[in-house]
């Protein structure tokens, strides 16, 4: 199966982009976006690895990724609510691209 290796490589690329956004960028919304891209890359590596054997994809990584998507969305909702709260408390300087945080 040649295509699954392409998906694993692309997942690794997404992980690197997500880590870059998470570490380098200052704006909190963009950091949240970086965490989401990171989790998408990890899911894509898992699902690409599930196609490694012949005779249909493996079911267990798909169930894990299904759970992981729901957990990632819940964590994103919590993080965005916290960002809105920080913005209300400390003003716009705290979430800007060159803020003090």
């Amino acid at each position: 199966m040649i295509p699954s290796q392409i998906y694993v490589i692309a997942g690794a690329g997404l992980v690197s982009v997500g880590v870059f956004a998470w570490v380098v960028r200052r704006h909190l919304v963009r950091r949240m976006m970086g965490v989401n891209i990171l989790s998408t890359g990890v899911f894509m590596m898992l699902i690409g690895g599930a196609r490694r054997v012949e005779g249909g994809p493996d079911g267990v990584p798909q169930a894990m990724v299904l759970t992981g998507i729901v957990v990632a969305v819940s964590a994103t909702a919590l993080g965005l609510a916290l960002i809105q709260r920080i913005y209300d408390q400390r003003g716009e300087r705290s979430v800007e691209e060159r803020g003090p945080m």
């Binding site: 690329g13 997404l14 919304v29 963009r30 949240m32 994809p57 798909q62 913005y87």
Partner: protein, 90 residues
């Protein structure tokens, strides 16, 4: 068929880099939502139909709505840059 895979993955990577490196926050949110749609197509290609359904409903729909909601909250205050809205009356 392998051309399809390569084009899909290159599109996905370009969208991720664009969403991270745009200066305009609204533009990067739209690129992020688009990336969710492309990921759903990739999972339909990999034979995970249920995963593609959940991704397009949750990853592209609800996450995009949450990010846009946060942007609307951040732009309600004066002094923040907007997408051409008139904020002088606030």
């Amino acid at each position: 068929m392998i051309v399809f895979d390569v084009v899909l993955m290159v599109t996905l990577w370009v969208l991720a880099v664009g969403a991270v490196s745009q200066a305009d926050l609204f533009k990067s949110v739209v690129l992020f939502v688009t990336m969710g749609v492309v990921v759903a197509v990739a999972w339909a290609r990999l034979g995970a139909a249920d995963l593609a359904m959940v991704e397009v409903a949750v990853g592209a729909g609800i996450t995009g709505a949450l990010f846009l909601n946060t942007l609307g909250h951040l732009e309600q205050r004066p002094g923040e840059r907007g997408e051409g809205e008139d904020t002088s009356h606030l």
